[in-house]
Symmetry: C2
Subunit: 350 residues, 2 copies
């Protein structure tokens, strides 16, 4: 019998199809993709040596070389075509009964590597720590701007087009309103805390550890697991076991990098390098103006986490109109497949 | 300057791009599609004469012929591969801290016409009224089942594959939990009523009528307009001007059919028959068990409406991770384009 499962963090419902044959069919039907292997592409604006092809850098991890020249390992530049612009005032206002404000925000690109086709499973952990630390630095820096309510970090693997399509990069986007998906999570976490005086995601860590069936990696400071009401096959979350509101405060990036690399390598091996979305949900910006108190209260019940969502198919119309998801790989099954893959490759490489 | 606009019904935010060139580019780049014109396809299970290719019918509009034979104008059959099954008990339960229930529901197909490739702009209004009345009948009938919290009606034009891909049909799906998208609307409407003692969607009708810039058709009983914070180019809503909670109670289907046909014809003409999703958001099922009182209260603040969402592109990763939308056709511009199209074709045909 299929099951309807509710995710307490997002509030979404997933219809989990209990049919092991569908998982087998998915894994068999996925085709091996030809990977680009060039380490340099003259047309790619993100390759080392092509720094003049991007707007001037905001930040870079460098060993003594001048800005906008070679000699970096991670580099942050503004997006050339931002949907939200950094200059101007919010002009937060009403239009009759409606609400609007000007399209103010920040839209940055984190170039994760100077090499054209190197992707996360191929990066060594020291390098991956630099990438994660760059996210932390940009989040903390953008949160100094009181116009921004939230800073979202995400990457979309495999969907980009154009000359930089095969270069590994991610986005840091600061928004002047809390993104609705995050806001719902903040409210659900606050409501859980109000009722139980415990953090919702701390409770999830305990239940997942004691059940074990959906766990992929049970580390010292982090847990990687497939959520009970996964919306998509092999959706994986990584979160700190100890309560922590802000990703940018985390001091255990070495272990996070190790787990992230292993999990992505296993996912990409099992699903033949799928398109995937990776995102970091950190706490909101509590630095600004008069509402500090309200937001501080809401923020402290939150527990940051990372989500990796392979996109093995598009959304169906049913999913779009209902906000319910249909997942034909039960997370218990997906987690077992990933655990088996990881135990067969103890170094975690591909 | 781009604007961030909030939709008070769904709570979503849209980034509305103020760049008229982008609309022009969209309209110019859309290509004319070759339309299938056959009125019968031997392999299509939904064509008249092929009734034996579907499961036995649940309902049909017939003139005296026996069930599952030719001689019908609208026909309802169960889906052959339902994600939710009608047989069984809900077994609503907890799994540790999580919530789940069995995958119970109903999954029906409304075959809108006996002819293979006839689509809504080609149907006469008498026929379209029969389709709308069939939706009403199926919603009311499924709501007698106290296991179902909600009945969703929607159609997805242009995305189906297989032998019935070119046959016009819609879905009626009964779910044992309220779909999250609808629940959020119910809560937002209830909150608005609590604060203002007025219906949120009645307020929207008044503001749209008095502004006029986003209105497409201002009828006697219905208003068709592009919402202030449209998530997609040319997204159009149709709603009754007088407060009404349940679509299935509506007694003005002739005007609704007339407006729906005109709006779809204009949209399909302007966007060259785009893929689109059409949905009806009616009030929830208030018939069941002990919670009647709570749901009755929540339901009466709701105001049913129809949404037509052309899908001119897929969702971007930013939209998926944030729940914010990027719409590069301001609704004021889209509405003007549709009004001009409609005034040029007074009969409303293509």
């Amino acid at each position: 019998m299929n099951e309807l499962r509710r995710d307490p963090v997002s509030g979404r419902w997933s219809i989990v199809i209990q049919d092991p044959m569908q998982t087998e069919r998915l894994l068999v039907n996925l085709r091996e993709r030809a990977r680009v292997t060039e380490k340099y592409d003259a047309n790619c604006p993100f390759c080392q040596g092509n720094e003049a092809q991007t707007p001037p850098e905001i930040y870079a991890v460098r060993t003594g070389t001048p800005p906008n020249s070679p000699g970096w390992t991670v580099r942050v530049v503004p997006d050339k075509f931002p949907v939200l612009r950094v200059e101007g005032a919010l002009n937060n206002r009403a239009h009759g009964m409606y609400d609007l404000l000007d399209g103010i925000g920040a839209h940055e690109i984190v170039i994760e590597t100077p090499e054209h086709s190197t992707w996360i499973p191929e990066m060594d952990e020291t390098h991956l720590v630099q990438v994660l630390r760059t996210y932390q630095y940009r989040i903390a820096d953008l949160k100094k701007d009181q116009r921004f309510r939230y800073v979202l970090v995400y990457k979309s693997h495999g969907e980009a087009t154009g000359p930089a399509a095969h270069h590994s990069y991610s986005y840091v986007i600061a928004t002047p309103v809390t993104p609705p998906r995050v806001k719902q999570e903040l409210l659900n976490c606050a409501q859980h805390y109000q009722m139980k005086e415990r953090c919702l995601l701390c409770d999830i860590v305990h239940q997942e550890e004691s059940e074990g069936t959906r766990v992929v990696v049970d580390g010292k400071d982090f847990l990687a697991f497939l959520p009970f009401a996964s919306g998509s096959p092999f959706e994986t979350w990584i979160l700190p076991k100890q309560h922590e509101t802000f990703f940018e405060d985390n001091a255990h990036l070495e272990e996070l990098a190790w787990i992230l690399r292993r999990v992505l390598a296993a996912l990409c091996d099992v699903l033949h390098e799928p398109n995937y979305v990776m995102l970091i949900h950190s706490g909101p910006n509590t630095s600004y103006g008069q509402r500090r108190g309200y937001w501080r209260t809401l923020a402290q019940d939150y527990h940051w986490h990372m989500e990796i969502v392979p996109r093995v198919r598009g959304f169906t119309s049913f999913e779009i109109v209902s906000g319910m998801y249909v997942n034909f790989v039960p997370p218990e099954h997906g987690a077992r497949v990933l655990r088996e893959k990881l135990s067969a490759t103890p170094g975690g490489g591909l």
